[in-house]
């Protein structure tokens, strides 16, 4: 418990630093242009990270995918994409529990910030990947990102896809983005993230 409190304090400090450095919202400034190369990692070890890998491939990004990278693997990259979503199977396969995953995630993001990397948090598995462990990953790490991509609806806009596909039905990601002044993109289908990544990284497309 004490250990958890210490981590939360560390997260709060990092979050505060992030907010003071990057006070940008969709309304006030131009969208951030993220730089390549990119390292894609999972926090929570769900298979959604594998989907993100396919999305990055389709988007034409210069990227490396590592489900659970060491901090050394950040070197040489300009942007870190963390795919949020907890899976007991994935955590089991990695041989860690959620506390260990949170500690590792903080270490990774702290190092990424030291390297002055930009960070994108993605939650692309919809409502099926919501729950206490996934939400712990979200509430701990989404607020540390420079941009959030969520498969789910803007609470202000009617959601027309299947209910279980909405990863933001309770507005959690909207709240985090608003409270921490982080830009956010809502997608209805996972494949929509291809276009979003192309826009975020200004990837030229053939059409």
């Amino acid at each position: 418990m004490k250990k958890r409190l210490v981590w939360i304090l560390i997260v709060a400090v990092i979050a505060f630093a992030g907010v003071t450095v990057g006070q940008e919202t969709e309304d006030s400034v131009d969208p951030i242009v993220f730089e390549q190369p990119v390292l894609i990692a999972s926090i929570g070890q769900s298979a959604g990270a594998q989907q993100a890998r396919i999305l990055a491939m389709k988007a034409g990004l210069d990227f490396t995918f590592e489900q659970r990278p060491t901090v050394d693997m950040l070197d040489g990259n300009a942007t870190l994409i963390v795919v949020l979503g907890a899976s007991s199977k994935g955590l089991g396969a990695a041989g860690v529990d959620m506390d260990g995953e949170i500690a590792w995630g903080i270490e990774l993001i702290t190092r990424a910030r030291e390297l002055e990397m930009e960070i994108i948090a993605m939650h692309i598995e919809g409502g099926a990947r919501r729950g206490p462990s996934s939400d712990l990953a979200t509430t701990t790490f989404a607020l540390l990102a420079d941009h959030i991509v969520v498969k789910g609806g803007d609470p202000e806009v009617e959601w027309t896809e299947a209910e279980e596909a909405n990863g933001n039905a309770d507005g959690l990601f909207t709240t985090i983005a608003t409270e921490n002044e982080i830009t956010i993109t809502y997608i209805a289908r996972t494949l929509d993230a291809v276009e979003v990544l192309q826009q975020l990284f200004v990837v030229e497309t053939s059409d």
Partner: protein
């Protein structure tokens, strides 16, 4: 005198009935499956493990070989025969699909012993049979089986079932669960021998893809899920994106290393195949539903579940083919839009 005669007649009748039961309990049960034009050969599982011949564990294998050589795909229904959408998706494949490239091996009743009757596991009121009406008005009946090999077909359950070769321990009744017995044992229990024969098939036919179709309860987190062996995760990830685009939302999970005995783990570990397990939601497996309608449930009708199974394995195989060399690709089609199964009378698509 007449009293004594009637007793004798009754005893004789009993002997005949018991004899018939003995015969039926030692023979593989048959099913109403009507192979379509795509089926090029009928084999038996015992062709891959002769010790199974004539036992309740033997089961037909429908082979659909395309004109063009290619890869090979094993489609399993009825590993748990109460998970009826997999059985019916395999049946529909046998009756209607055509393979243009590669070879598809379809086993609609992977555990044929368990297919014989429904022992009521999970829901005592789930049916023994389902009825489907074809386009010509004929009513066809299909067994709704059990989760496990029938008790009378195998030696009594041990107190603890120790999986071979991992040594992992399960509850004793899991000795009869095909999806806890992989990769099987050649001279083991009936369930272990069924598994062994399936592995022989995959090895001998050099199957590139194995799909094992299952169902869960409606409220289970497993519902609408693809579980992939780690080597197959790329293909699974690509398939879930394609499926979502087609309006089918499937969760993606990777098979854990300690999931010994399960198809998605063991076929992937012991063979070169890319292995997937598909789960759709079955009201018959929901304990809280007192009288489940496994065919016409308004939330999860059988036709919709069969559509999900077919669309999912088709998308998995298509993505496998995208990543494979020309001579290992697999192509098949149905003479109807699979999406049209949604909300349909499934029977109208059968022969």
């Amino acid at each position: 005198m007449s009293y004594r005669l009637s007793w004798s007649a009754a005893c004789a009748a009993l002997v005949v009935v018991l004899g018939a039961l003995c015969v039926s309990a030692t023979m593989p049960i048959s099913h109403d499956i009507r192979p379509g034009h795509g089926v090029t050969e009928l084999r038996w599982l015992s062709d891959y493990h002769p010790a199974l011949r004539g036992t309740p564990g033997d089961t037909p294998i429908y082979v659909l070989e395309g004109d063009e050589p290619g890869g090979s795909f094993l489609l399993l229904g009825g590993t748990h025969p109460n998970e009826i959408a997999g059985v019916m998706a395999a049946t529909l494949f046998v009756e209607r699909a055509s393979v243009s490239k590669g070879t598809v091996f379809v086993i609609p009743h992977a555990n044929n012993s368990a297919s014989r009757y429904n022992d009521g596991t999970y829901n005592e009121t789930s049916p023994q049979w389902i009825e489907l009406t074809t386009a010509s008005g004929e009513v066809r009946t299909f067994h709704y089986g059990s989760r496990r090999t029938q008790v009378e077909d195998q030696e009594p359950d041990p107190e603890v079932f120790v999986h071979y070769p991992s040594g992992i321990e399960f509850d004793g009744k899991e000795a009869r669960n095909l999806n806890r017995n992989h990769p099987g044992i050649a001279d083991g229990t009936l369930t272990q021998q069924i598994s062994y024969a399936l592995f022989q098939l995959v090895e001998r036919e050099e199957a590139n893809v194995v799909v094992d179709m299952h169902e869960s309860s409606i409220t289970s987190r497993l519902a609408h899920m693809i579980v992939c062996h780690p080597r197959a995760l790329d293909i699974g990830a690509m398939a879930t994106l394609d499926l979502e685009w087609a309006g089918i939302i499937m969760k993606l999970e990777v098979s854990q290393e300690e999931y010994h005995g399960l198809s998605h783990r063991e076929f992937g570990d012991y063979t070169d195949a890319y292995v997937f397990l598909i789960e759709t939601p079955n009201p018959g497996q929901e304990r809280s539903i007192t009288t489940p309608d496994v065919v016409n449930d308004p939330l999860a009708p059988l036709a919709d579940r069969v559509r999900t199974q077919i669309s999912t394995f088709t998308t998995l195989v298509n993505n496998y083919s995208l990543m494979s060399s020309h001579d290992e690709q697999i192509e098949f089609t149905f003479p109807f839009e699979v999406h049209d199964l949604v909300g349909s009378n499934l029977g109208e698509y059968l022969r």
